[in-house]
Symmetry: C2
Subunit: 351 residues, 2 copies
């Protein structure tokens, strides 16, 4: 994690004059104009929005698109392995990827809290720019509001995204079939525990890095290798448990998974134990499950491993039964239990 | 403005069990699932998102689209003539309309404050549904976060929008030409003063209704009647003054306007005077300026008047000079002054 000092010299707004965001930066006048020019247009490629008008005009290479939105309220805004800016890019890009859509354009809307240090804002914006560059997406339109929050927590970011759909598959829970293999692209629970470690000041702070990262490359590799992808879902709020239960219920199929097959790192296990959490219910930001026909499972696994070898992708189960409890898990002793969706709030403000 | 009581019976979440939003409603578990099912999917046409997946898949009738985003933080959330929900639909639909794009799809992302009364949320969501219906747009994807705000102010909404571009004009500041007529579609300053009146508990409370409303019908009427529209801009934050200055500067042209031609209602004038505000710098949410060739001005005026007769559309000036001060205004005595962009915060949390 870079220290604020490294960024101070680069922040294009005079920190002497405006060390923090003020209400006037959201008022529609000259100060807001300056903020847009110096921070947002500077970072997000002003050339792509020549007239800086209310909307971006986009020429589409296809006539089937995916459209998604997500707000990011993670606290703290910097955590091991990422920050609210990179998360806001990865999260929305990943929602598009889960439809098999190639992420193309993002909007970025900021709700800034009065008093937010200007260099913090610049740091977050630079992180977004870098994440967008790595993901091959362009941030083409945006908005800024300033609110007089007394909490001083910083900022919320909404990103909406448009992706182009180049495949002809119907990727979604409705396409899940009995016999499908369930794969996960890597070890689960790291993002949530990385954020919690900083928030709670726990001793493992820093050793667990968020898994936040873009997923389209992995999805594209599956699709371009003719894996017949039935369903994809990223493991965000509620983790693997929520994702599997949602898919099973929507598909009207049961899912049987093997506890031993699910990759969870030792330090994540230990941290979860300390906090009384189940790693299967903890949010990830760079993990997804893929449902594919059994005949494609081995090939899909190989492809996922080639994307991120150290993440330890696995086949974790099969689609098989047709009634609730929707998701059952077999442990190492062979006994079965229902893997439930968490009822309430496990980890607030995790994404 | 309807009272909360009328809505209480209709709120689909049990108000006995959950009178307010809790952190658990944002946790990714069963309670959040219930909130989505009963409030958001119920209001926003679940049929349009059959698998309730991360993104909506959209089939486009054209391959040129407009894309925009806006967050809404208006306080109070209910005001004479509208609320944060209808504003969030109109505002984003209008940003699309200002590109001459036909609004088609919206996303809706909610940041709810813990403790928000559940029936207030339902009221806002119903207002969005109704506004979307009137505007002919579909809300096709969304997101919900809950934050532990201590302010209890309620909620923030982000809407992003996609519109289809059916014309071949280049609508924007770069197309503005010397000699263009500048039209406004109605009296200015009402939205800002309607919000302020409630916030400040002023004596004119209720008599000034927000002008919040959708603008695409007016734009479509101009385009379908072959008015050669050069530039359109809605008069939101910073009002008419900010809009004209932004366009003039971006176009590299001067604009001369006639103070007497600008429609401002008497009660808005009086309220502005009381608060020391200039109505030309106050936000509207249903007003825009159109730049058209002089030869089309009379026809454009007639079209705008036919859309909303009581709004009193006017030709307010001409594009003429080429250097700063960009916007000059002639008063009734014939004297000229620069019409400046407001420097800082005039009316915080107005949209």
């Amino acid at each position: 994690m870079k220290s604020p000092v490294e960024f101070a010299s680069a922040c294009p707004v005079s920190l002497k004059e405006y060390p923090t965001v003020t209400m006037a930066h959201g008022g529609g006048g000259k100060l807001m104009h300056d903020l847009l020019e110096k921070i947002f247009f500077a970072a997000f490629d002003a050339n792509s929005t020549p007239n800086r008008h209310d909307s971006a005009i986009l020429e589409l290479p296809v006539n089937r698109i995916a459209f998604t939105t997500d707000s990011y309220v993670v606290r703290p805004i910097f955590f091991p392995g990422g920050d609210i800016g990179s998360l806001a890019v990865h999260g929305t890009v990943n929602d598009l990827a889960m439809s098999g859509a190639r992420p193309a354009w993002l909007s970025a809307a900021f709700i800034l809290h009065e008093g937010l240090p200007m260099e913090t804002l610049w740091r977050v914006v630079c992180s977004m720019r870098e994440a967008a560059r790595r993901c091959g997406v362009r941030i083409v339109t945006g908005d800024t509001k300033v609110v007089d929050a007394t909490t001083g927590e910083g900022l919320y970011i909404n990103t909406s995204g448009i992706g182009v759909v180049e495949h002809s598959l119907q990727i979604g829970a409705a396409s899940v079939q009995s016999g499908d293999a369930v794969l996960v692209n890597g070890d689960v629970g790291r993002h949530g525990m990385a954020v919690m470690s900083v928030r709670e000041g726990l001793s493992f702070q820093g050793s667990i890095q968020s898994d936040s990262g873009p997923l389209f490359n992995a999805v594209e590799a599956l699709l371009s290798n003719q894996v017949e992808v039935h369903c994809l879902r990223d493991l965000t709020r509620g983790g693997l448990a929520s994702a599997l239960n949602e898919i099973a219920e929507a598909a009207g199929h049961g899912i049987a998974i093997e506890e031993e097959a699910i990759p969870v790192r030792g330090d994540v296990h230990a941290a979860c134990e300390m906090l009384g959490l189940d790693p299967l219910q903890v949010a990830c930001e760079g993990r997804f499950v893929a449902f594919v026909p059994e005949r494609d499972a081995a090939r899909a696994l190989e492809i996922l491993r080639s994307q991120e070898a150290e993440a330890n992708a696995k086949v974790i189960g099969r689609v098989d039964r047709r009634e609730p409890p929707w998701v059952v898990m077999k442990n190492s002793l062979g006994s079965l239990r229902a893997l439930d969706t968490p009822v309430g709030e496990l980890l607030p403000r995790i994404c």
